[in-house]
Amino acid sequence: MHNVVIVGGGPAGLSAALTAAVAGAPVLLLDSNPRLGGQYWRTPADNFGDQNENHFDLATGLKLINSVKAQSNIQVLSGAQIWSASHKDGVSTLRVIYQGSEKIINTGNLILATGAYDRSLPFPGWDIPGVMTPGGVQSLIKGHGVVAGKRVVVAGSGPFLLPVAAGLVKSGADVVELLEANKSWRWASSILVLLENLSKIKEGFYYIEAISKGKVRARFGQAVVGAYAGENGELESVDIAKIDRNFKIKKVRNIKCDVAAIGWGFTADTSLAGALGCKQVVAKDESVVVLIDSKQQTSITGVFAAGEITGIGGSELSMIEGEIAGKSAAKFVGCAVDISRSDLIIRAKKQRFAAALIKAYPIKSGWRSWLDEQTVLCRCEEVDLADLKDSIVELGATDSRTAKLLTRCGMGLCQGRICGRFVVDLVADQLNISPTDIDRIAAVSRPIITPIPLGVLAAGE
């Protein structure tokens, strides 16, 4: 039936699917969203009309999506959620919730391209309705034609803030502040890398043009360090601080806004890779990523990975990784295809760019000084900093796992996707130690990948 199963319908997964299929391997592509494109090429339903306005290279995405749809040996299952997976004796078993019931897919050849989501850091008031992630704000515009509010503050760190601010301006919102925590001169250290990726400069100017039309001024070395609610319990204003190079607060001012879109780069979602038993490592930005070799193969033979889960690096790196993984997977099932020299050169170029990004936008530890005792850490279970400290100081927890068991931090519906990463840092901070790789990797362990209704679980084989 199909020789290659691919999980994830974003830039990496789509590229992998098309490449493998063109090389002769029938592909089954599983995606949890209703429409292909992942987060990066998020598109609305057909009745929303032309969306090119809101996206720099949506044309690339649409072309790839249409090619995948047109390719006769690619079968797409949209709205498919994998809840559990395991690997044994060369076979990966994926347990999928699809159209209300369970589907078991066994495969000897798998490509994981499960992507990433916005990385959040806590601060007093970050749980007030109106505080969102940049990805959330962008998804509302791109996918649903909705602008989250009128007066918007965009803040955090990383190049992703630019397209989000641009999208807001184009949609008629007033972006009252665009704040980058790091200093603008950080780019100077990576000027050569920038030059080698000219398309990125073009993209940058596209966004800068858009935001300058909205008279938005970007400020560097500033961050949102507090949020306040009005009488209705919803966002009314934020505290903006000038911060030093370690992100410690120097001076604070308050401004009114109804939406704050705040993000600090991305966190890869490696839950599926971890459940299968693929080896994970800690990357230079301290995120947990899947270990791969030059063929994009993980520590498990026949299981490949591409895109953000191998290291946060953006859509172009994701696409070339997808192509290489697609070729490797096709070759694994006997197709006559080889990774070319130019594939490797392009990937290396994109990897250098990704590495430069990480270097240009570090997240410094001073953010921990923004918290107060009542700052919520685990949003799902309403565990605050005082609770976490108590579990360590009073109840003797000496690692994240024990702190989790004693406070319920990370045990709620999102299973630590939002808080897990920074709780490891806070626990280590409290104990005056450095977080270990083991702690970081344990924080992303999710054998049950997404909640499954007990009735569906019971009905399965």
Binding site: L406, G412, G455
Partner: protein, 385 residues
Amino acid sequence: MKNPDAIVIGAGVVGACCALSLTNAGLKVLIIDRGPVASGTTGAGEGNILVSDKGPGAELTLAIRSRDLWFDINTDIGGGFELEAKGGVVVSRSAKGISDLKKLSALQKENGVEVIELDGAGLRKIEPYLSESVEYGVLYPGDAQCQPMLAAAQIIRAVKKRGGSFIQGENVIAINSNAGSLIGITTDKNNYSCPIVINATGTWAGEIAKLAGSHLPIMPRRGFILVTAPAPKIVHHKVYDADYVANVASSDADLQSSAVVEGTASGTILIGASRERVGFKADLDISILRQLARQAISLFPVLSSIGLLRAYRGFRPYAPDHLPVIGEDANISGLWHAAGHEGAGIGLSPATGELITAQITNQSTFIDPTPFSPKRFQGSEYVAV
């Protein structure tokens, strides 16, 4: 801590209760664990404090006493572990099951357990979502529940406040004795002189006993627990199928499972219970999770739409004669064992602590400790498998 009066090896709920009991009796106690608090079976426990699942005998007597002691401890240390006198409901749907349950509850009643028989209507008054297929059950108001990791942590905190200490991250590598008398222990980091040591290492108690040349055939009996997403209040008591009692008492190594369902203070619903002897096999067995889900839905049909959020597994410390080991070592005086409580560790810990402390301090014990003595395994054919 230099020169403790007693060392407790194991910072799970049993070790914690032993330490508290000894501390309250005036001893300076050092707790040692190779990991953090509740890093063994306690960290995978459900929090059961049951009188309902034991037939008349030494264990039931221990359970009744222990249940009451939990409430004393709660008052003594100021709570903080979600102790709730929730009550248990045991149900059965087969003719034999009902008849056995009637017999068991009558015997339990004779032995001091409060039991209230209920028909279908009576059951659904207290458990409105219980399946219509259930027509007979027994309510045990004495059953209670707590959060076991918090219990161990809060008790150890109290022990520390009262002069005890807790050292974690040290592995015991030798138990030192002289002419049949305990003189201390050696860990991978330190040497401790002490006349009294309590082996409260649960599923690993056999390994520790071996260091002293003793034979404790305690084996792992794996169990899984399903945890749902926070749900509306569906289950008001701990509700379980009468098969559970038979499964606990079974010596079969194969999978035994029966429905056990209860809500928690945090809003999640816990679903058990499975038992199998597969050594320390760590993988998540999906077929067992499915069976637990089926059994739970059979009792509470509305659970069908509730989401499974996570599942965890633990290794119950199982002694082949189904009784915990509480008493002085057969060969070395001063070495005490408090382990092997199978799935009743949380429920039985306070009474275990009390029993051990009474024996150590030469006070009278509330129960004849002989059935629990580790000496029963001396020269026995029981082999750790």
